[in-house]
């Protein structure tokens, strides 16, 4: 890739070209978010090219899906984005329900919104904390985990698990909420809200943080779309797209009546529904700072949605209903559905031949496409920028390798 070096202004400016070195970053490296392996081609501190190698966490989820019934595959979706397993469950459940033309009860629908948005907060907290870690500050990571623990406590109470929930399932949810849960959830939200200011103080507005992220790894709108990026990565580049609003009817119907504004910069400003810190002067749309900031906005947005969901859920009479049988037959045909998971658009595709066991299942993960764009972003950056850029994409290897 000599051309990449020729295009790098920094190298030409100094007119120093020494031997290039291949450096192996990962799969055992503190900041590659699991088992990602990046091969860096560097000239001193300047990286001319990176090449991601994936597959270290490949667990043949799709092949396994061809041997299990639709509901039996739910636990395998847990292990895709294990930081937001609820959203993975939801994506698969909705896809199968779409093919079966099945509609869950009103109460289950609101409970799904509640759980999915709470899970989004938990996922973004990890993304935020781990990003601080990538930039060399340790404390925000633990502040984020402290709050995430409380969400996991709530989940544990609801379904018994802390990481791989299998809570949302085909045809509803495995159980209703225990008594008193809603009160504890509200207490958590009240306690959590002021803490977001701390995160902004420690990271978003911190001078060093801004220096490390603003105008680094700028992802243009066109490139983001061409690579199929989604979620905060896409919105951080200024593309106004959120599957909760723009997706297919079966998914958007879930959010019917919920008020939320897509966290994206429109006409030069972000939504003003809450008080947010101002955008620093150095930040360029599509850089690491904006991707990070969109995540922070979505935490607040999800809190609002959880509050709305609590109101609606408690207003519903009756039960959430029973999920479908484990061996429920799926009508022949195929269905593809993309849902807005915390990391981006999570697509599931199911092909059925009319039996209970799908003929083919496919998981299109957002991190897969988001990571594919990393080589473009890292061209000509410094070594220290590589964790900053890869971290800002907020990838989860479980979802990439499946």
């Amino acid at each position: 890739m000599a051309s990449a070096i020729d295009d790098d202004p920094r190298i030409i400016e100094f007119d120093v070209r020494t031997d290039e070195m291949l450096v192996n970053m990962g799969p055992q490296h503190p900041s590659t978010h699991g088992v990602l392996r990046l091969v860096l081609r560097t000239d001193g501190e300047v990286v001319s090219e990176i090449e991601p190698h994936i597959g270290y966490l490949h667990r043949c989820a799709e092949k396994i899906g061809e041997n299990l019934t639709a509901r039996q595959w739910i636990p395998y979706t847990d292990r895709m984005d294990y930081l937001a397993a609820m959203n993975m469950n939801l994506g698969w459940a909705l896809t199968v329900e779409k093919l079966m033309k099945y509609e869950v009860s009103e109460k289950a629908r609101h409970l799904r919104v509640l759980i999915a948005e709470l899970s989004r907060i938990a996922s973004h907290l990890v993304g935020m904390g781990a990003y601080g870690l990538d930039l060399g500050t340790f404390s925000p990571f633990l502040y984020a985990f402290r709050e995430r623990e409380k969400i996991l406590d709530l989940f544990e109470e609801a379904c018994g698990a802390r990481l791989t929930y299998s809570y949302i399932t085909v045809g509803g949810l495995t159980a209703d909420l225990p008594p008193g849960w809603l009160g504890r959830c509200e207490a958590f939200l009240d306690q959590f809200e002021p803490i977001i200011k701390e995160y902004h103080a420690l990271l978003t507005t911190n001078a060093i943080f801004v220096k490390r992220t603003a105008n680094i790894g700028v992802l243009s709108r066109e490139l983001a779309i061409e690579y199929g990026c989604s979620g905060p990565v896409l919105r951080g580049s200024g593309v106004d797209q959120d599957m909760r609003r723009d997706g297919e009817a079966i998914y958007t119907a879930m959010y019917d009546g919920y008020a939320f504004e897509v966290a994206v910069m429109k006409n030069g400003h972000y939504p003003r529904d809450h008080e947010y810190p101002p955008v620093p002067a150095d930040a360029v749309l599509g850089d690491c700072w904006h991707r990070f900031f969109v995540r922070m906005l979505e935490v607040v947005q999800s809190m609002d949605l959880v509050r709305q969901a609590i109101d609606r859920y408690s207003a519903c009479k009756g039960t959430i209903g029973e999920p479908l049988k484990l061996t429920e037959k799926i009508p022949a045909g195929d269905a593809y559905l993309e849902t807005e998971a915390p990391k981006g658009q999570m697509g599931f595709y199911v092909v059925s031949d009319g039996t209970a066991i799908p003929w083919r299942v496919r998981a299109r993960s957002s991190s897969f496409s988001n990571l594919a764009v990393a080589p473009e972003l890292c061209r000509g950056c410094l070594i220290a920028d590589v964790p900053a850029i890869v971290g800002s994409l907020d990838i989860v290897m479980g979802e990439i390798d499946r």
Binding site: P30, E45, G136, F138, I208, F209, I383
Partner: protein
């Protein structure tokens, strides 16, 4: 002490000098090793408290106060690994070079009036020069490890430390200029009296240059946000990636030793050394210069004072480390060359002009007018004899260096 051994015990002169040197060396070694243990424990506890954790709680009964010792034993028991392609001799040598540099610098550091390993009339020069040698250990480690990450760490360290020596040197020159001596004891004694006599409050320029010194000192000992040489999230562990067990712990001790040293140096140069904010001894009519028991206790008090100030400095470094993200290498260099160096130079010039226009500073004079103290006035007969050979040697080194 040497004189006492020669005159009273009748030992030959060379033996007496050797014993004296060994005693001083062992004492200082214990200060470093013991200090490192305490500081490592303190760092754990402080980091934990900053991050809403408890830190060690059990080792040693309460507060985990024996945790560092337990860690030391663990490190001793660890396998001493060396990479296959490593340059064996250099690899083994490197930690000791680092440690010895840090250790040697302590020799000239006065803990209280007359409590000094070897009083040098070029003490400032000696400490700064020897502390700069620590970088050789790091470069050796990086080069000999046969690991690319180590090499990156070493190169960063070399670039960073060499650059930061320039503003650091300029900062150090200011107190030297004000005191008219390079002897650390003289510089500290010149600031005797109330805290208003400290060079920190001498004039606005010295106040500014103190903060420049703090920045440069943190950078030159590789603490966050300038810890690029080990940069965990980028370079795995930087120059000590391949080290394990005891060798690794030598680097660790050197780091904590240097941290303490630059803090103590700051205390001596800018914060009155062993002269407390309130001249208790003077108010009580006691003097450190006398050889009786009262004088001895005054010196002990002074030592506690200096240790307290230096510890405060170390604690501030820890606080900074657990709060801020890390800078990037180009930003570190920019900070040094674009901000610290010009600022230090300007402040140096400012202090010079101030000395010409308003000799004696603005707030000095509460106790004693400046200029009364001349170089060498403190040297009693014993001190003179004890310091001569080494001082002569150092003077020769200094002359050659010039």
């Amino acid at each position: 002490m040497a004189e006492f051994l020669i005159n009273s015990a009748g030992l030959p002169e060379w033996l007496a000098w050797t014993i004296t040197a060994v005693v001083a060396a062992v004492l200082i070694l214990n200060v470093i090793a013991g200090g490192a243990l305490v500081f490592i424990w303190a760092e754990r506890k402080i980091a934990a408290r900053i991050q809403d954790r408890l830190g060690p709680t059990r080792t040693g009964g309460r507060f985990g106060w024996l945790q560092s010792l337990a860690d030391g034993i663990k490190l001793l028991a660890k396998e001493d690994l060396m990479p296959e392609g490593a340059d064996g001799m250099l690899f083994r040598l490197a930690p000791y070079v680092s440690f010895c540099a840090s250790f040697c610098a302590f020799i000239a550091l006065p803990f209280a009036f007359d409590f000094v390993g070897q009083r040098l009339n070029v003490g400032v020069f000696f400490v700064v020069a020897v502390l700069g040698l620590e970088v050789f250990g790091v470069i050796l480690a990086g080069y000999a490890s046969a690991s690319k990450w180590s090499l990156f760490g070493a190169m960063r360290e070399a670039a960073q430390v060499v650059s930061y020596e320039v503003p650091l040197g300029m900062c150090v020159v200011v107190p030297v200029m004000l005191a008219g001596s390079m002897d650390l004891v003289t510089i500290a004694e010149k600031q005797a009296g109330w805290f208003t006599n400290w060079y920190l409050f001498h004039d606005p320029f010295t106040f500014v240059i103190f903060w420049v010194y703090v920045t440069c000192a943190v950078a030159s000992v590789n603490r966050a946000p300038f810890d690029l040489a080990e940069a965990e999230s980028e370079l795995v562990a930087g120059f000590h990636t391949e080290y394990s067990g005891l060798r690794w712990s030598y680097f660790f001790m050197a780091e904590y030793g240097s941290m303490f040293l630059v803090s103590a140096l700051a205390a001596v140069l800018f914060m009155g050394g062993w002269n407390g904010p309130i001249p208790v001894a003077k108010l009580l009519g006691l003097s450190a210069g006398t050889g009786d028991t009262a004088g001895y206790f005054v010196r002990l008090l002074g030592m506690a004072n200096l240790l307290g100030k230096a510890t405060l400095g170390v604690l501030v470094m820890m606080w900074v480390r657990w709060t801020l993200p890390r800078l990037r290498i180009d930003q570190v260099m920019t900070t040094c060359l674009k901000y610290c160096t010009p600022l230090a130079a300007a402040m140096f010039a400012g202090v010079m002009v101030w000395q010409l226009a308003l000799p004696g500073g603005i707030v000095r004079g509460l106790s004693r007018p400046a200029g009364e103290v001349r170089e060498g006035w403190l040297e009693g007969p014993g001190g003179k004899a004890a310091s001569r050979p080494a001082a002569d040697a150092a003077q020769k080194v200094a002359e050659v260096a010039r």
